[in-house]
Amino acid sequence: MAGNKGRGRASYTFNIEAVGFGRGEKLPDVVVKPPPLFPDTDYKPVPLKTGESEDYMLALKQELRGTMKRKPYFIEKPEEKPDIERYSKKYMQTYKEEWIPADLKSKNAQGTDKVSSLINAADVLKKIEELEKKGDGEKSDEENEEKEGSKEKSKDGEDEDNEDAEQEDDDEEELEEENDYVNSYFEDGDDFGVDSDDNMDEATY
């Protein structure tokens, strides 16, 4: 019943009078873009409080900022340099690191762990290479190449967090996913001709 009445005419589901618009009155424009970043204000803001105590607190604040920066507790985020890991970094330990609890300490000392884990990865790769020579090699070849790529990347990066280990995990997971799609698509030069007959995805001219 209410639906029929509204056909061909703008109507609302609620009593428009209750919200304050009379019938037929011009409604405000529809908003077509996000509000401006710095909208004009009708009223200027009230000026700041001034006085002796405010001045003193201001001076205190700026002094505190300077003092805090010089404290040993102020640990700056280590800059990530994209070039190779410097040998001297292992031996140049600032004593600021003593303030960090043992668990959260930067992984400089644990660099050896990374190396050993990489060595394990290298062993695994060797095994995979042997396997590849026996069975179907495309999958492991892909992993081989990608793993070498990620190994180099993780050696270069000076990231001292756990992110690298996680990154490797992520890389491996991504690799396995990629293999689903990329597997039969792109391999070494040797096997290219052999498999192209099976692969109907490529356009044939």
């Binding site: 609302y12 589901t13 609620f14 009593n15 209750a18 919200v19 304050g20 618009f21 204000t41 009708d42 009223y43 803001p45 009230v46 700041l48 409080k49 105590s53 405010e54 003193y56 607190m57 201001l58 205190l60 604040k61 700026q62 505190l64 003092t67 805090m68 404290k71 040993p72 507790y73 004593y95 003593e98 303030w99 609890p101 668990d103 959260l104």
Partner: protein
Amino acid sequence: MYQVHKRGVVEYEAHCSRVLRMLRYPRYIYTTKALYGDTGELIIEELLLNGKMTMSAVVKKVADRLTETVEDGKTMDYAEVSNTFMQLADTRFVQRCPMVHTPENSDTGPPPPAPNLVINEKDMYLVPKLSLIGKGKRRRSSDEDAAGEPKAKRPKHPTDNKEPIPDDGIYWQANLDRFHQHFRDQAIVSAVANRMDQTSSEIVRAMLRMSEVTTSSDAPFTQPLSSNEIFRSLPVGYNISKQVLDQYLTLLADDPLEFVGKSGDSGGGMYVINFCKALASLATATLESVIQERFGSRCARIFRLVLQKKHLEQKQVEDFAMIPAKEAKDMLYKMLSENFISLQEIPKTPDHAPSRTFYLYTVNILSAARMLLHRCYKSVTNLIERRQFETKENKRLLEKSQRVEAIIASVQATGAEEAQLQEIEEMITAPERQQLETLKRNVNKLDASEIQVDETIFLLESYIESTMKRQ
């Protein structure tokens, strides 16, 4: 800040609220200066900057700092600093940190990965019996200030202290809650002074002072105080008779703001200060003031009207406020869009059909306060961002001016003539100087704004906290 996870791995988490307190450090330090002088100010400053320290370390450092500012020949005695420290502990502005709990049978298995910190209520303000004899040392260029050395390196301390520190392991920290209590009391007293007069604010201040140590910081109201007690503890020199005091108290208790309430008649009348209501009034006043400054006084009138009448229809708003319909509508919608006001639906029929529902305007102070607090946080963020941006833009200029200052200082130290200094000063050109001036002015303005926004943040946070506790 940390807790041991079930699996035995230690979890760390950052306490955001504690980080935000850093905005308030200047206020804490300045308050201590007003109450306990320069000595107190430096004690609190050292504690805030270092988190926690042993008493002897604080005393030593503060004495050294004070000695430097005093003229040559005089030194600051440790005893004076210790006295101030004890005063601060007595009034609870500093408290002991929780300590490592050693169980009786300490040889059962390996120690837990993270120490379990406990503190006994009674011990929190116990000052250890130390006999700190000594005077502050004036820092010479040869003595490197070894501040903040880790505990392990303490025996290798370069200066005289060869014996082990007597109160090792007893750390003190600044008691922020106590400061907040003080700020809250200050706000209440000044509100009463603004609303009534100086005398009533002095009465309220006396009442608050009496309940300082008897009431915990998050109680909804103070212990009942009898009129006789209040009379006795009024500050000396305040010559008002008992009857006048009683009249003032009655006036305060009858005031619609309900800061003071009457809880009984024994002892000449028992009165309490109602913190919940007081904070609510302060928060409401803040909201009203924001609306007034942002939207105008007519809007503020509508806001106060809706606040008073709790629920109003569109038509009623126009009638009561005596503002033409179009304007009233406009203002209501502006406030609605910013969430200061909200709509309450009251259906006439069970199917909530919009054409048969009442829509009433109402103000929910708690949610409006939360919204305003959120905006305050955003403002602070913007202020800090802008300040950092300004500083970064002019980094080159700032560094240059610092270098020039250093040169001037070194040249002056080795004795220089006026002409040389002039030359060095001219290394900074006039427009550059102008730029530096503008930069300094802007940065100061932004900094001062941060401090002021923090005052609003404190009010709103206290109000929200007290309301949540009551529920």
